[in-house]
Protein backbone atom coordinates (compact mmCIF):
# COMPACT_ATOMS: atom_id res chain seq x y z
CA UNK A 1 0.00 0.00 0.00
CA UNK A 2 2.72 2.43 1.07
CA UNK A 3 4.83 1.33 -1.87
CA UNK A 4 2.01 1.98 -4.27
CA UNK A 5 1.48 5.42 -2.83
CA UNK A 6 5.16 6.21 -3.20
CA UNK A 7 5.15 4.88 -6.72
CA UNK A 8 2.19 7.08 -7.56
CA UNK A 9 3.88 10.10 -6.04
CA UNK A 10 7.02 9.45 -8.06
CA UNK A 11 4.91 9.00 -11.16
CA UNK A 12 3.18 12.35 -10.69
CA UNK A 13 6.51 14.03 -9.94
CA UNK A 14 8.01 12.68 -13.13
CA UNK A 15 4.95 13.67 -15.16
CA UNK A 16 5.38 17.27 -14.03
CA UNK A 17 9.15 17.40 -14.39
CA UNK A 18 9.52 15.38 -17.58
CA UNK A 19 8.88 18.13 -20.17
CA UNK A 20 11.47 20.42 -18.60
CA UNK A 21 13.88 17.56 -18.06
CA UNK A 22 13.59 16.41 -21.64
CA UNK A 23 14.59 19.78 -23.11
CA UNK A 24 17.19 20.33 -20.43
CA UNK A 25 18.82 16.93 -20.96
CA UNK A 26 18.83 17.27 -24.75
CA UNK A 27 20.10 20.81 -25.11
CA UNK A 28 22.18 21.32 -21.99
CA UNK A 29 23.22 18.13 -20.21
CA UNK A 30 23.98 16.14 -23.35
CA UNK A 31 26.16 18.88 -24.90
CA UNK A 32 27.90 19.40 -21.56
CA UNK A 33 28.86 15.74 -21.25
CA UNK A 34 29.49 15.55 -24.98
CA UNK A 35 31.88 18.47 -24.62
CA UNK A 36 33.84 16.64 -21.95
CA UNK A 37 34.09 13.57 -24.20
CA UNK A 38 35.02 15.45 -27.36
CA UNK A 39 37.68 17.42 -25.50
CA UNK A 40 39.54 14.12 -25.20
CA UNK A 41 39.40 13.41 -28.95
CA UNK A 42 40.83 14.85 -32.15
CA UNK A 43 37.36 15.35 -33.71
CA UNK A 44 37.49 18.04 -36.35
CA UNK A 45 33.85 18.31 -37.35
CA UNK A 46 34.36 17.41 -40.99
CA UNK A 47 35.78 13.94 -40.65
CA UNK A 48 33.19 11.56 -39.16
CA UNK A 49 35.96 9.45 -37.69
CA UNK A 50 37.93 10.63 -34.72
CA UNK A 51 40.28 9.12 -32.16
CA UNK A 52 40.67 9.30 -28.40
CA UNK A 53 43.77 11.35 -27.60
CA UNK A 54 43.57 11.59 -23.80
CA UNK A 55 44.67 14.91 -22.35
CA UNK A 56 46.70 15.94 -25.41
CA UNK A 57 44.32 18.78 -26.26
CA UNK A 58 44.60 20.21 -22.75
CA UNK A 59 48.36 19.98 -22.84
CA UNK A 60 48.48 21.70 -26.22
CA UNK A 61 46.15 24.51 -25.13
CA UNK A 62 48.11 25.19 -21.95
CA UNK A 63 51.65 24.90 -23.29
CA UNK A 64 51.83 25.17 -27.08
CA UNK A 65 49.18 27.72 -27.97
CA UNK A 66 50.38 31.29 -27.47
CA UNK A 67 47.12 32.74 -28.82
CA UNK A 68 45.12 30.89 -26.15
CA UNK A 69 47.58 31.91 -23.45
CA UNK A 70 47.25 35.49 -24.62
CA UNK A 71 43.45 35.23 -24.60
CA UNK A 72 43.49 33.86 -21.04
CA UNK A 73 45.78 36.65 -19.89
CA UNK A 74 43.73 39.31 -21.71
CA UNK A 75 40.52 37.94 -20.16
CA UNK A 76 42.00 37.86 -16.65
CA UNK A 77 43.08 41.49 -16.98
CA UNK A 78 39.61 42.39 -18.23
CA UNK A 79 37.92 40.50 -15.37
CA UNK A 80 40.09 42.24 -12.78
CA UNK A 81 39.21 45.70 -14.11
CA UNK A 82 35.53 44.80 -14.43
CA UNK A 83 35.16 43.37 -10.91
CA UNK A 84 36.63 46.48 -9.33
CA UNK A 85 35.25 49.20 -11.61
CA UNK A 86 31.80 47.79 -12.30
CA UNK A 87 31.00 47.23 -8.64
CA UNK A 88 32.55 50.49 -7.46
CA UNK A 89 30.69 52.52 -10.09
CA UNK A 90 27.42 50.67 -9.48
CA UNK A 91 27.62 51.33 -5.73
CA UNK A 92 28.52 54.97 -6.35
CA UNK A 93 25.61 55.47 -8.74
CA UNK A 94 23.24 53.60 -6.42
CA UNK A 95 24.22 55.71 -3.40
CA UNK A 96 23.96 58.95 -5.37
CA UNK A 97 20.58 58.01 -6.83
CA UNK A 98 19.25 57.01 -3.42
CA UNK A 99 20.26 60.41 -2.09
CA UNK A 100 18.01 62.18 -4.60
CA UNK A 101 14.37 62.70 -3.91
CA UNK A 102 12.59 63.94 -7.02
CA UNK A 103 15.01 62.88 -9.74
CA UNK A 104 15.56 59.36 -8.39
CA UNK A 105 13.28 57.53 -10.82
CA UNK A 106 14.54 59.59 -13.76
CA UNK A 107 18.21 58.75 -13.22
CA UNK A 108 17.44 55.12 -12.48
CA UNK A 109 15.63 54.83 -15.81
CA UNK A 110 18.58 56.29 -17.72
CA UNK A 111 21.35 54.35 -16.00
CA UNK A 112 19.56 51.05 -16.45
CA UNK A 113 18.67 51.62 -20.11
CA UNK A 114 21.84 50.12 -21.70
CA UNK A 115 21.03 46.87 -19.95
CA UNK A 116 17.96 46.49 -22.10
CA UNK A 117 20.01 46.59 -25.28
CA UNK A 118 22.05 43.80 -26.74
CA UNK A 119 25.75 44.44 -26.33
CA UNK A 120 25.99 43.83 -30.06
CA UNK A 121 23.87 46.91 -30.74
CA UNK A 122 25.61 48.84 -27.96
CA UNK A 123 29.01 47.77 -29.26
CA UNK A 124 28.20 48.94 -32.79
CA UNK A 125 26.96 52.31 -31.53
CA UNK A 126 30.09 52.74 -29.47
CA UNK A 127 32.18 51.81 -32.48
CA UNK A 128 30.65 54.80 -34.24
CA UNK A 129 31.54 56.97 -31.24
CA UNK A 130 35.12 55.68 -31.14
CA UNK A 131 35.85 55.79 -34.85
CA UNK A 132 33.88 58.88 -35.92
CA UNK A 133 32.67 61.03 -33.04
CA UNK A 134 35.79 61.16 -30.86
CA UNK A 135 38.25 61.99 -33.70
CA UNK A 136 35.84 64.70 -34.85
CA UNK A 137 35.54 66.02 -31.32
CA UNK A 138 39.33 66.04 -30.96
CA UNK A 139 39.74 68.19 -34.05
CA UNK A 140 37.04 70.62 -32.99
CA UNK A 141 38.01 71.01 -29.35
CA UNK A 142 41.75 70.42 -29.47
CA UNK A 143 41.45 67.63 -26.90
CA UNK A 144 44.01 65.51 -28.73
CA UNK A 145 43.88 62.66 -26.20
CA UNK A 146 40.48 61.77 -27.65
CA UNK A 147 41.98 61.14 -31.06
CA UNK A 148 43.36 57.66 -30.55
CA UNK A 149 43.12 54.54 -32.58
CA UNK A 150 40.53 53.24 -30.11
CA UNK A 151 39.67 50.22 -32.18
CA UNK A 152 42.90 49.57 -34.09
CA UNK A 153 45.50 49.84 -31.34
CA UNK A 154 45.19 47.02 -28.79
CA UNK A 155 46.52 49.10 -25.90
CA UNK A 156 43.62 51.52 -26.40
CA UNK A 157 41.02 49.03 -27.52
CA UNK A 158 41.33 47.26 -24.17
CA UNK A 159 39.96 50.42 -22.62
CA UNK A 160 37.39 50.79 -25.38
CA UNK A 161 36.12 47.29 -24.57
CA UNK A 162 36.16 48.14 -20.87
CA UNK A 163 34.18 51.35 -21.41
CA UNK A 164 31.53 49.59 -23.48
CA UNK A 165 31.25 46.76 -20.95
CA UNK A 166 30.90 49.16 -18.03
CA UNK A 167 28.35 51.17 -19.99
CA UNK A 168 26.29 48.04 -20.46
CA UNK A 169 26.82 46.43 -17.07
CA UNK A 170 26.76 49.08 -14.35
CA UNK A 171 22.99 49.60 -14.54
CA UNK A 172 22.24 45.98 -13.74
CA UNK A 173 24.34 45.95 -10.58
CA UNK A 174 23.00 49.40 -9.70
CA UNK A 175 19.50 47.92 -9.43
CA UNK A 176 20.78 45.26 -7.04
CA UNK A 177 22.65 47.78 -4.91
CA UNK A 178 19.66 50.14 -4.81
CA UNK A 179 17.52 47.28 -3.52
CA UNK A 180 20.16 46.57 -0.88
CA UNK A 181 20.49 50.23 0.12
CA UNK A 182 16.76 50.48 0.69
CA UNK A 183 17.15 47.77 3.31
CA UNK A 184 19.65 49.86 5.29
CA UNK A 185 17.76 51.45 8.15
CA UNK A 186 17.86 55.22 8.05
CA UNK A 187 17.74 55.44 11.85
CA UNK A 188 21.16 53.82 11.99
CA UNK A 189 22.55 56.38 9.58
CA UNK A 190 20.91 59.22 11.47
CA UNK A 191 22.37 57.91 14.72
CA UNK A 192 25.82 57.90 13.13
CA UNK A 193 25.30 61.42 11.85
CA UNK A 194 24.31 62.61 15.32
CA UNK A 195 27.48 61.00 16.65
CA UNK A 196 29.37 63.21 14.23
CA UNK A 197 30.18 60.74 11.45
CA UNK A 198 30.83 62.31 8.04
CA UNK A 199 29.42 61.15 4.74
CA UNK A 200 32.37 58.84 4.03
CA UNK A 201 32.46 57.41 7.56
CA UNK A 202 28.75 56.69 7.50
CA UNK A 203 29.17 54.92 4.18
CA UNK A 204 32.24 52.95 5.26
CA UNK A 205 31.05 51.82 8.69
CA UNK A 206 27.25 51.67 8.35
CA UNK A 207 26.17 51.35 4.72
CA UNK A 208 28.93 49.14 3.32
CA UNK A 209 28.70 46.39 5.97
CA UNK A 210 24.92 46.43 5.61
CA UNK A 211 25.06 45.87 1.85
CA UNK A 212 27.81 43.28 2.09
CA UNK A 213 25.50 40.41 0.96
CA UNK A 214 24.69 42.43 -2.17
CA UNK A 215 28.42 42.93 -2.77
CA UNK A 216 28.84 39.15 -2.71
CA UNK A 217 26.16 38.84 -5.39
CA UNK A 218 27.54 41.76 -7.38
CA UNK A 219 31.07 40.38 -7.52
CA UNK A 220 29.77 36.89 -8.25
CA UNK A 221 27.71 38.16 -11.18
CA UNK A 222 30.58 40.25 -12.52
CA UNK A 223 33.03 37.35 -12.33
CA UNK A 224 30.55 35.03 -13.93
CA UNK A 225 29.68 37.34 -16.81
CA UNK A 226 33.08 38.87 -17.54
CA UNK A 227 34.92 35.57 -17.87
CA UNK A 228 32.38 34.75 -20.59
CA UNK A 229 32.48 38.14 -22.33
CA UNK A 230 31.86 37.79 -26.05
CA UNK A 231 29.34 40.22 -27.56
CA UNK A 232 31.05 43.50 -26.70
CA UNK A 233 34.42 42.32 -28.00
CA UNK A 234 32.89 40.73 -31.09
CA UNK A 235 31.05 43.93 -31.98
CA UNK A 236 33.86 46.33 -31.20
CA UNK A 237 37.13 44.76 -32.36
CA UNK A 238 36.23 41.21 -33.38
CA UNK A 239 39.30 40.18 -31.39
CA UNK A 240 41.58 42.14 -33.65
CA UNK A 241 43.90 43.53 -34.75
CA UNK A 242 45.15 40.01 -35.34
CA UNK A 243 44.27 38.21 -32.15
CA UNK A 244 45.41 40.99 -29.86
CA UNK A 245 42.09 41.63 -28.12
CA UNK A 246 40.79 38.10 -28.26
CA UNK A 247 39.04 36.91 -25.10
CA UNK A 248 38.70 33.22 -24.19
CA UNK A 249 35.17 32.87 -25.55
CA UNK A 250 36.18 34.41 -28.85
CA UNK A 251 39.25 32.21 -29.07
CA UNK A 252 37.08 29.11 -28.59
CA UNK A 253 34.55 30.38 -31.12
CA UNK A 254 37.24 31.00 -33.72
CA UNK A 255 38.94 27.67 -33.07
CA UNK A 256 35.68 25.79 -33.58
CA UNK A 257 33.82 27.77 -36.22
CA UNK A 258 36.56 29.85 -37.82
CA UNK A 259 39.14 28.42 -40.14
CA UNK A 260 40.50 25.41 -38.24
CA UNK A 261 37.28 23.57 -37.25
CA UNK A 262 39.15 21.68 -34.55
CA UNK A 263 36.06 20.84 -32.50
CA UNK A 264 37.86 18.48 -30.12
CA UNK A 265 40.62 20.97 -29.39
CA UNK A 266 38.15 23.85 -29.00
CA UNK A 267 36.12 21.68 -26.58
CA UNK A 268 39.20 21.27 -24.41
CA UNK A 269 39.63 25.04 -24.31
CA UNK A 270 35.95 25.36 -23.40
CA UNK A 271 36.45 22.94 -20.50
CA UNK A 272 39.40 24.99 -19.31
CA UNK A 273 37.17 28.09 -19.35
CA UNK A 274 34.53 26.22 -17.35
CA UNK A 275 37.08 25.09 -14.75
CA UNK A 276 38.50 28.61 -14.38
CA UNK A 277 35.02 30.08 -13.84
CA UNK A 278 34.06 27.28 -11.45
CA UNK A 279 37.17 27.49 -9.26
CA UNK A 280 37.26 31.28 -9.07
CA UNK A 281 33.55 31.72 -8.30
CA UNK A 282 33.61 28.98 -5.63
CA UNK A 283 36.64 30.57 -3.98
CA UNK A 284 34.99 33.99 -4.15
CA UNK A 285 31.70 32.78 -2.65
CA UNK A 286 33.51 30.89 0.15
CA UNK A 287 35.65 33.87 1.08
CA UNK A 288 32.88 36.45 0.95
CA UNK A 289 30.25 34.31 2.68
CA UNK A 290 32.64 33.85 5.57
CA UNK A 291 33.13 37.60 5.90
CA UNK A 292 29.39 38.13 5.59
CA UNK A 293 28.81 36.04 8.71
CA UNK A 294 31.47 37.96 10.62
CA UNK A 295 30.11 41.29 9.52
Amino acid sequence: MIDRLRLKRHGILLAFVLPALLFYATFLLAPAFGGIWYSLTDWNGLNPRYAFVGLDNYAEALTEDPSFGHAVFFTLKYVLFMVVLQNALAILVAVLIESRAKTKAFFRTIFFMPNMLSMIIGGFMWMFVFTRVLPDLAVRTGLSFLDRSWIGDPSFSFYAILIVSLWGGVGYLMVIYIAALQGVSSSLKEAAAIDGAGVWQTFRYITLPMIYPALTIGIFLTLNSSFKVFDAVFALTGGGPGRETQVIALNIFEEAFGFSNRYGYASAKAMILFLIVLVITIVQLRLMKRREVEA
Binding site: A20, L28, L29, V93, I121, F253, L273
Partner: protein, 303 residues
Amino acid sequence: MSAHRYERREAGRGASRGIGTPRAGKSRGSSSLPGLLALLTLIVGAAFTLLPVYMGVLNSVKTEGEMLNGILSWPRHFAWGNYADAYRKIDFLRSLGNTAAVTAVGLAGIVLFAAMGGYKLSRTPGKLSSFLFGLFVLSMLIPFHSIMITLVRIAKNLTVQGSTVGLGLIYIGLGVSMAIFLYHGFVKSIPRDLDEAAVIDGCGEFRLFFSVILPLLLPVTATVAILNALWMWNDFLLPLLMLTDSSSYTLLLSTNMLFGQYGNNDWSAILASLVLALLPVVVLYLLLQKYILNGIADGAIKG
Protein backbone atom coordinates in the same frame (compact mmCIF):
# COMPACT_ATOMS: atom_id res chain seq x y z
CA MET B 1 3.24 43.50 -5.19
CA SER B 2 6.78 44.66 -4.75
CA ALA B 3 6.22 47.47 -7.19
CA HIS B 4 3.64 48.84 -4.80
CA ARG B 5 5.93 48.59 -1.86
CA TYR B 6 8.56 50.44 -3.80
CA GLU B 7 6.27 53.35 -4.57
CA ARG B 8 5.01 53.69 -1.06
CA ARG B 9 8.51 53.79 0.29
CA GLU B 10 9.48 56.49 -2.15
CA ALA B 11 6.39 58.50 -1.34
CA GLY B 12 7.27 58.17 2.34
CA ARG B 13 10.72 59.56 1.73
CA GLY B 14 9.40 62.43 -0.28
CA ALA B 15 7.02 63.29 2.54
CA SER B 16 9.69 63.22 5.20
CA ARG B 17 11.73 65.56 3.08
CA GLY B 18 8.76 67.85 2.81
CA ILE B 19 8.65 68.16 6.59
CA GLY B 20 12.30 69.04 6.26
CA THR B 21 14.33 68.30 9.33
CA PRO B 22 17.50 70.36 9.07
CA ARG B 23 19.64 67.20 8.76
CA ALA B 24 17.60 65.80 5.90
CA GLY B 25 17.65 69.16 4.19
CA LYS B 26 21.39 69.29 4.41
CA SER B 27 22.15 65.89 2.91
CA ARG B 28 19.31 65.58 0.40
CA GLY B 29 18.65 69.01 -1.02
CA SER B 30 20.64 70.16 -4.00
CA SER B 31 21.37 73.49 -2.34
CA SER B 32 24.19 72.06 -0.22
CA LEU B 33 27.62 71.35 -1.64
CA PRO B 34 27.55 67.53 -1.36
CA GLY B 35 24.05 67.53 -2.83
CA LEU B 36 25.18 69.64 -5.76
CA LEU B 37 28.20 67.43 -6.30
CA ALA B 38 25.99 64.35 -6.29
CA LEU B 39 23.63 65.88 -8.82
CA LEU B 40 26.51 66.93 -11.04
CA THR B 41 28.06 63.45 -10.97
CA LEU B 42 24.73 61.91 -11.87
CA ILE B 43 24.25 64.31 -14.76
CA VAL B 44 27.71 63.54 -16.14
CA GLY B 45 27.04 59.81 -15.76
CA ALA B 46 23.66 60.09 -17.44
CA ALA B 47 25.17 62.06 -20.33
CA PHE B 48 27.82 59.37 -20.75
CA THR B 49 25.13 56.68 -20.71
CA LEU B 50 23.06 58.43 -23.36
CA LEU B 51 26.02 59.48 -25.52
CA PRO B 52 26.21 56.54 -27.94
CA VAL B 53 22.45 56.34 -28.36
CA TYR B 54 22.12 60.10 -28.88
CA MET B 55 24.99 60.12 -31.35
CA GLY B 56 23.50 57.15 -33.16
CA VAL B 57 20.02 58.65 -33.45
CA LEU B 58 21.33 62.10 -34.37
CA ASN B 59 23.56 60.85 -37.16
CA SER B 60 21.07 58.30 -38.41
CA VAL B 61 19.17 61.16 -40.06
CA LYS B 62 22.21 62.69 -41.73
CA THR B 63 23.72 61.92 -45.06
CA GLU B 64 27.36 60.86 -45.17
CA GLY B 65 28.28 64.31 -46.43
CA GLU B 66 26.57 66.11 -43.61
CA MET B 67 28.17 63.72 -41.12
CA LEU B 68 31.56 64.86 -42.38
CA ASN B 69 30.55 68.50 -41.94
CA GLY B 70 29.67 68.06 -38.30
CA ILE B 71 29.01 64.92 -36.34
CA LEU B 72 27.78 66.79 -33.29
CA SER B 73 25.59 69.37 -35.02
CA TRP B 74 21.87 69.20 -35.55
CA PRO B 75 21.00 67.90 -39.05
CA ARG B 76 20.19 70.72 -41.49
CA HIS B 77 17.72 68.54 -43.32
CA PHE B 78 16.52 65.17 -42.17
CA ALA B 79 17.60 62.33 -44.44
CA TRP B 80 14.68 60.01 -43.68
CA GLY B 81 15.77 58.01 -46.67
CA ASN B 82 18.35 56.36 -44.43
CA TYR B 83 15.50 54.67 -42.62
CA ALA B 84 13.82 53.46 -45.77
CA ASP B 85 17.20 52.16 -46.82
CA ALA B 86 17.85 50.41 -43.51
CA TYR B 87 14.30 49.02 -43.35
CA ARG B 88 14.90 47.29 -46.65
CA LYS B 89 18.47 46.19 -45.99
CA ILE B 90 17.77 44.43 -42.69
CA ASP B 91 14.36 43.24 -43.93
CA PHE B 92 12.95 44.81 -40.77
CA LEU B 93 9.51 43.22 -40.54
CA ARG B 94 10.76 39.73 -41.27
CA SER B 95 13.71 40.04 -38.86
CA LEU B 96 11.39 41.43 -36.21
CA GLY B 97 8.97 38.56 -36.79
CA ASN B 98 11.77 36.01 -36.56
CA THR B 99 13.04 37.49 -33.31
CA ALA B 100 9.50 37.52 -31.91
CA ALA B 101 8.92 33.91 -32.99
CA VAL B 102 12.10 32.66 -31.31
CA THR B 103 11.31 34.56 -28.11
CA ALA B 104 7.65 33.44 -28.06
CA VAL B 105 8.43 29.74 -28.51
CA GLY B 106 11.20 29.85 -25.93
CA LEU B 107 9.17 31.86 -23.44
CA ALA B 108 6.05 29.68 -23.67
CA GLY B 109 8.09 26.53 -23.08
CA ILE B 110 10.23 27.95 -20.29
CA VAL B 111 7.30 29.40 -18.34
CA LEU B 112 5.00 26.38 -18.69
CA PHE B 113 7.55 23.60 -18.16
CA ALA B 114 9.51 25.36 -15.43
CA ALA B 115 6.33 26.27 -13.52
CA MET B 116 5.16 22.65 -13.63
CA GLY B 117 8.55 21.26 -12.67
CA GLY B 118 9.40 23.87 -10.05
CA TYR B 119 6.00 23.50 -8.39
CA LYS B 120 6.10 19.71 -8.15
CA LEU B 121 9.76 19.56 -7.12
CA SER B 122 9.08 22.06 -4.37
CA ARG B 123 6.03 20.13 -3.10
CA THR B 124 7.48 16.60 -3.24
CA PRO B 125 9.86 15.54 -0.47
CA GLY B 126 12.35 12.71 -0.92
CA LYS B 127 15.57 11.76 -2.61
CA LEU B 128 14.34 11.61 -6.19
CA SER B 129 12.94 15.12 -5.95
CA SER B 130 16.06 16.66 -4.46
CA PHE B 131 18.24 14.78 -6.94
CA LEU B 132 16.27 16.20 -9.88
CA PHE B 133 16.32 19.70 -8.40
CA GLY B 134 20.06 19.42 -7.83
CA LEU B 135 20.49 18.28 -11.41
CA PHE B 136 18.80 21.45 -12.69
CA VAL B 137 20.64 23.80 -10.36
CA LEU B 138 24.01 22.18 -11.01
CA SER B 139 24.23 23.43 -14.56
CA MET B 140 23.73 27.12 -13.82
CA LEU B 141 27.48 27.70 -13.68
CA ILE B 142 28.28 26.03 -17.02
CA PRO B 143 29.32 28.70 -19.51
CA PHE B 144 27.45 28.59 -22.80
CA HIS B 145 30.77 28.40 -24.63
CA SER B 146 31.49 25.05 -23.01
CA ILE B 147 28.42 23.44 -24.56
CA MET B 148 28.04 25.32 -27.84
CA ILE B 149 30.21 23.09 -30.00
CA THR B 150 28.41 19.86 -29.13
CA LEU B 151 25.09 21.69 -29.11
CA VAL B 152 25.53 22.59 -32.78
CA ARG B 153 26.05 18.93 -33.61
CA ILE B 154 23.04 17.80 -31.59
CA ALA B 155 20.87 20.49 -33.17
CA LYS B 156 21.96 19.33 -36.60
CA ASN B 157 21.17 15.71 -35.81
CA LEU B 158 17.74 16.61 -34.45
CA THR B 159 17.17 18.93 -37.45
CA VAL B 160 16.25 21.85 -35.24
CA GLN B 161 19.13 23.86 -36.69
CA GLY B 162 18.20 26.55 -39.14
CA SER B 163 14.66 27.35 -38.04
CA THR B 164 13.34 29.97 -35.67
CA VAL B 165 11.04 27.47 -33.96
CA GLY B 166 13.96 25.07 -33.53
CA LEU B 167 16.00 27.85 -31.98
CA GLY B 168 13.14 28.58 -29.58
CA LEU B 169 13.11 24.91 -28.55
CA ILE B 170 16.82 25.05 -27.77
CA TYR B 171 16.27 28.12 -25.60
CA ILE B 172 13.75 26.10 -23.57
CA GLY B 173 16.48 23.61 -22.74
CA LEU B 174 18.96 26.34 -21.81
CA GLY B 175 16.49 28.46 -19.83
CA VAL B 176 14.43 26.04 -17.73
CA SER B 177 16.98 25.44 -14.97
CA MET B 178 17.12 29.05 -13.78
CA ALA B 179 13.34 29.36 -14.09
CA ILE B 180 12.78 26.14 -12.12
CA PHE B 181 15.01 27.53 -9.41
CA LEU B 182 12.91 30.70 -9.17
CA TYR B 183 9.57 28.84 -9.22
CA HIS B 184 10.86 26.32 -6.68
CA GLY B 185 11.62 29.11 -4.23
CA PHE B 186 8.35 30.94 -4.80
CA VAL B 187 6.10 27.88 -4.38
CA LYS B 188 7.30 27.53 -0.77
CA SER B 189 5.35 30.71 0.03
CA ILE B 190 2.06 29.20 -1.18
CA PRO B 191 0.30 27.35 1.66
CA ARG B 192 -0.02 23.61 1.21
CA ASP B 193 -3.56 23.63 2.63
CA LEU B 194 -4.63 25.00 -0.72
CA ASP B 195 -3.45 21.88 -2.55
CA GLU B 196 -5.03 19.62 0.02
CA ALA B 197 -8.37 21.42 -0.03
CA ALA B 198 -8.47 21.18 -3.81
CA VAL B 199 -7.64 17.47 -3.73
CA ILE B 200 -10.39 16.85 -1.16
CA ASP B 201 -12.78 18.65 -3.48
CA GLY B 202 -11.88 16.01 -6.06
CA CYS B 203 -9.55 18.11 -8.13
CA GLY B 204 -7.01 16.16 -10.18
CA GLU B 205 -3.29 16.89 -10.06
CA PHE B 206 -3.12 18.69 -13.38
CA ARG B 207 -6.36 20.61 -12.89
CA LEU B 208 -5.12 21.66 -9.46
CA PHE B 209 -1.96 22.98 -11.05
CA PHE B 210 -3.53 24.77 -13.97
CA SER B 211 -6.57 26.32 -12.32
CA VAL B 212 -5.36 26.90 -8.74
CA ILE B 213 -1.57 27.06 -8.60
CA LEU B 214 -0.57 28.62 -11.92
CA PRO B 215 -2.56 31.85 -11.36
CA LEU B 216 -0.96 32.21 -7.92
CA LEU B 217 2.49 32.01 -9.50
CA LEU B 218 1.89 35.19 -11.49
CA PRO B 219 4.43 37.42 -9.68
CA VAL B 220 7.29 34.99 -10.22
CA THR B 221 6.05 34.26 -13.75
CA ALA B 222 6.46 37.96 -14.50
CA THR B 223 10.06 37.85 -13.26
CA VAL B 224 10.83 34.69 -15.23
CA ALA B 225 9.21 36.07 -18.38
CA ILE B 226 11.06 39.40 -18.23
CA LEU B 227 14.48 37.87 -17.56
CA ASN B 228 14.12 35.25 -20.27
CA ALA B 229 12.52 37.46 -22.90
CA LEU B 230 15.36 39.97 -22.54
CA TRP B 231 17.96 37.23 -22.74
CA MET B 232 16.52 35.58 -25.85
CA TRP B 233 15.69 38.85 -27.61
CA ASN B 234 19.22 40.17 -27.12
CA ASP B 235 21.16 36.94 -27.54
CA PHE B 236 23.54 36.92 -30.46
CA LEU B 237 25.86 33.92 -30.38
CA LEU B 238 23.31 31.10 -30.36
CA PRO B 239 21.30 32.52 -33.30
CA LEU B 240 24.60 33.08 -35.10
CA LEU B 241 25.39 29.39 -34.74
CA MET B 242 21.89 28.08 -35.43
CA LEU B 243 20.33 30.27 -38.12
CA THR B 244 22.18 29.74 -41.34
CA ASP B 245 19.68 31.09 -43.86
CA SER B 246 19.25 34.87 -44.04
CA SER B 247 15.46 34.49 -44.35
CA SER B 248 15.34 33.30 -40.74
CA TYR B 249 17.74 35.93 -39.36
CA THR B 250 16.88 37.76 -36.16
CA LEU B 251 17.23 41.54 -35.87
CA LEU B 252 20.74 41.25 -34.46
CA LEU B 253 21.93 38.90 -37.19
CA SER B 254 20.54 41.12 -39.95
CA THR B 255 22.20 44.15 -38.42
CA ASN B 256 25.47 42.31 -38.04
CA MET B 257 25.32 41.40 -41.75
CA LEU B 258 25.41 45.08 -42.62
CA PHE B 259 28.91 45.31 -41.22
CA GLY B 260 30.13 42.36 -43.20
CA GLN B 261 28.78 43.85 -46.39
CA TYR B 262 29.84 47.44 -46.10
CA GLY B 263 33.08 47.34 -44.14
CA ASN B 264 32.18 50.04 -41.63
CA ASN B 265 31.69 52.67 -44.29
CA ASP B 266 28.00 53.22 -44.76
CA TRP B 267 27.30 54.56 -41.29
CA SER B 268 24.08 56.35 -42.21
CA ALA B 269 22.36 53.08 -43.15
CA ILE B 270 24.00 51.20 -40.28
CA LEU B 271 22.97 53.74 -37.66
CA ALA B 272 19.42 53.84 -38.95
CA SER B 273 19.18 50.06 -38.71
CA LEU B 274 20.70 50.07 -35.21
CA VAL B 275 18.01 52.53 -34.16
CA LEU B 276 15.32 50.35 -35.76
CA ALA B 277 16.71 47.30 -33.97
CA LEU B 278 16.74 48.90 -30.54
CA LEU B 279 13.40 50.68 -30.92
CA PRO B 280 11.13 47.76 -29.84
CA VAL B 281 13.15 47.15 -26.68
CA VAL B 282 13.33 50.80 -25.67
CA VAL B 283 9.59 51.29 -26.15
CA LEU B 284 8.85 48.21 -24.08
CA TYR B 285 11.31 49.35 -21.43
CA LEU B 286 9.69 52.76 -21.04
CA LEU B 287 6.25 51.17 -20.80
CA LEU B 288 7.09 48.34 -18.40
CA GLN B 289 10.14 49.63 -16.57
CA LYS B 290 8.71 49.27 -13.07
CA TYR B 291 8.12 45.56 -13.62
CA ILE B 292 11.42 45.11 -15.40
CA LEU B 293 13.49 46.74 -12.66
CA ASN B 294 11.72 44.72 -9.97
CA GLY B 295 12.06 41.54 -11.99
CA ILE B 296 15.78 42.10 -12.43
CA ALA B 297 16.31 42.77 -8.72
CA ASP B 298 14.22 39.73 -7.71
CA GLY B 299 15.91 37.45 -10.21
CA ALA B 300 19.41 38.51 -9.24
CA ILE B 301 18.90 38.31 -5.51
CA LYS B 302 17.20 34.92 -5.56
CA GLY B 303 19.31 33.55 -8.38
